[in-house]
């Protein structure tokens, strides 16, 4: 693309300067004040047909607006010999003799700064998605590495097996799930980790960066994750050794170590653990709201805790029981809530049970902050904030008093999941919208809380000994089974029919915060 306009534009600039363009741009294209917007709304009509048409253009020589599609601006240019016009939506300059839009870096700079002012006057954030323009270093890198790879639908890049290093399938399946977490992949492949630890070899985040490079290098032989294993052993001592480990425990430990190693790289005040801005917290942290209602005075005390995963009970469960004990700095794991004594057969049922009000009996009286007495109360858990990636942990391994067993009941889970019913806002949904239309349409359109399945970790075997495998999704709907070094095709039905131990869902729509 030529950034020096054209002969006609240059002649115009030499004669009249950039002022005509600036005036049109500030008054009618990117308005930075309410007054300017009012003028724009009143005057942006075709001077020939009086319609507020699409693709309206303004003559750069005189005061004339005309539709491009109905050829009014073209007629004007022909009859008056005014050969330049500005598009009133985008601000691009059209040259009639050249028959094309022309680009001039001086005018573009003016336009850019004006757009910035217009956006900030409306409280719109700077455009996040400006198209990428390589800088000098990047241009140099591109020149040095002329090989380009286009990722097609049938492309298998990103799929790679992992060698089992001695009962390390618990690690391999979690690595596969993390590698195929879309937002995490985008973070690592765009090289956003800026290591502050100084010791690259000891940083798990740096190791993840290397892993992503390995997976997307196009090499098809299995990768040997010995460095990762070593880092896990040194950072999470309880997972060291060649014993069989729990994949869920590994997931939480991995997230915790990654979260700790990210610290310092985001320049934020991290003395407050709940306001960490690291990539792990951005992706995995949700907010779990707990409402405890005093049976005597109906006072509700609400607390919100950060969580990385949702652990769901499967068995009939004891009539009462709570075990929330998270006082460390990272978001806790293993929140559970098990009222009722039926066995859920679907993820939805598990979630219903998880968010059902639970009566805390006489053995678990809590001091009410309102009436200052020890009272029986009800407690309800709901999702205050949904994470970008939701991990559901089906508690298949039961370690109750006296016995340990694996629950192998089939629990169905959907490919698309709507979390709206489990949100705190659904808890008392009488308030909120009063407008009927808004409410109805909002219901059919609550895509903000919708999730898609992208990875499933399975365990086969018994509680003492077994094997972990993982299904992962590539592109939009292709599924693959990862069994250590083996990657095979899988169908979606096969995935949905699998037993399921850890279920990974990602949000369908991301909000920008």
């Amino acid at each position: 693309m030529n950034h020096h306009g054209c002969q006609h534009l240059n002649e115009f600039k030499a004669a009249k300067g950039t002022e005509p363009f600036r005036i049109i741009h500030t008054c009618f294209i990117a308005c930075a004040s309410a007054d300017a917007r009012r003028l724009k709304a009143a005057h942006c009509r075709c001077h020939t047909c009086n319609q507020p048409a699409f693709r309206l253009h303004a003559c750069l020589h005189c005061v004339y607006f005309g539709c491009y599609l109905d050829k009014h601006i073209q007629e004007h240019a022909r009859s008056t010999n005014h050969n330049l016009a500005v598009d009133l939506h985008y601000g691009a300059v059209y040259c009639f003799p050249c028959g094309d839009y022309v680009y001039d870096s001086e005018l573009e700079d003016m336009a850019r700064s004006q757009w910035g002012k217009a956006s900030s006057s409306l409280g719109i954030k700077e455009r996040i998605f400006a198209p990428w323009e390589p800088n000098d270093t990047e241009t140099e890198l591109l020149r040095k590495n002329p090989k380009r790879r286009k990722v097609e639908v049938a492309s298998t890049v990103g799929l790679r097996g992992l060698m089992n290093l001695g009962n390390t399938c618990f690690m391999n399946c979690i690595v596969q799930a993390l590698i195929h977490t879309p937002v995490l992949r985008d973070y690592f492949l765009s090289d956003q980790h800026d290591c502050q630890t100084g010791v690259v070899k000891k940083c798990l985040v740096c190791e993840m960066t290397r892993l992503f490079q390995e997976f997307y290098s196009g090499v098809r032989t299995p990768h040997i994750p010995y460095r990762l294993l070593h880092l896990v052993w040194t950072n999470a001592r309880h997972l060291a050794g060649y014993e069989q480990q729990d994949a869920h425990e590994f997931l939480i430990a991995a997230l915790d170590v990654l979260h700790r190693h990210c610290k310092g790289s985001n320049g934020l005040n991290y003395s407050n653990p709940h306001h960490c801005n690291c990539i792990i917290d951005q992706i995995f942290t949700g907010g779990l709201q707990s409402d405890v209602t005093c049976q005597k005075c109906n006072n509700v005390s609400t607390t919100i805790d950060p969580i990385w995963d949702i652990s769901l009970d499967l068995g009939p469960g004891p009539p009462c029981g709570n075990n929330n004990n998270s006082s460390n700095s990272s978001p806790g794991s293993g929140y559970s809530n098990s009222p009722g004594n039926y066995e859920p057969t679907s993820l939805i049922e598990c979630l219903k049970r998880f968010t059902k009000p639970e009566h805390l009996g006489s053995s678990a009286k809590i001091k009410c902050s309102n009436c200052h007495s020890y009272q029986e109360s009800t407690k309800q858990l709901t999702m205050k904030k949904l994470p970008i990636v939701a991990c559901f942990h089906l508690k298949r391994f039961e370690h109750s008093t006296g016995y340990h067993k694996k629950i192998s009941t089939f629990v169905s889970f959907p490919e698309q999941l709507d979390m709206t019913p489990f949100m705190s806002s659904s808890r008392n949904n009488n308030n909120g919208y009063c407008n009927q239309i808004v409410q109805e349409s909002a219901k059919s359109l609550s895509c903000d809380n919708k999730y898609s399945l992208f990875a499933v970790v399975n365990h086969s075997g018994t509680i003492e000994t077994g094997h972990y495998t993982c299904y992962i999704r590539q592109h939009k709907d292709q599924w693959f089974k990862c069994d250590d070094h083996m990657i095979t095709n899988a169908s979606q039905q096969e995935v949905l029919n699998s037993e399921g131990y850890l279920l990974f869902y990602h949000k369908q729509i991301l909000e920008y915060g």
Binding site: C31, A34, R37, R38, K40, A41, A42, C44, Q51, P52, G99, D100, Y101, A118, S119, S121, L122, I124, R127, I128, F129, N435, I437, V438, S441, A442, S444, L445, C447, I509, L510, Y512
Partner: protein
């Protein structure tokens, strides 16, 4: 017949008025930003960009004009906008209008 003509006129007047309100309040810019974001998210922009590149390659850079390109991609571009994006935009416009007492 006169009725139909009458309604068309009224519709056009209403459209113009709504458009004016959207511009005046800056809501139009906000909607544009939302739409832009959604279209990028769902891959619409990449898809259309690729389509443009293909057309330019096929016809040759020297032989193509903006008008040709616009004429070729407009139907495809419209057809490719996902229904839920359209719905969301419509919903936002409805919400906006319900708050405007004067329209």
């Amino acid at each position: 017949m006169a009725d139909l003509q009458d309604r068309k006129m009224k519709d056009a007047a209403m459209r113009a008025k709504i458009n004016q309100k959207l511009v005046e309040t800056g809501e139009r810019e906000r909607l544009m930003e939302l739409l832009r974001t959604r279209l990028i998210e769902c891959g619409w922009r990449d898809q259309l960009k690729q389509h443009c590149k293909d057309i330019v390659k096929q016809k040759g850079l020297e032989h193509i004009t903006v008008d040709d390109l616009v004429a070729e991609i407009t139907p495809k571009g419209r057809a490719l906008v996902p229904d839920n994006v359209k719905k969301e935009l419509l919903q936002r416009i409805r919400t906006f209008l319900s708050k405007q007492s004067s329209v």
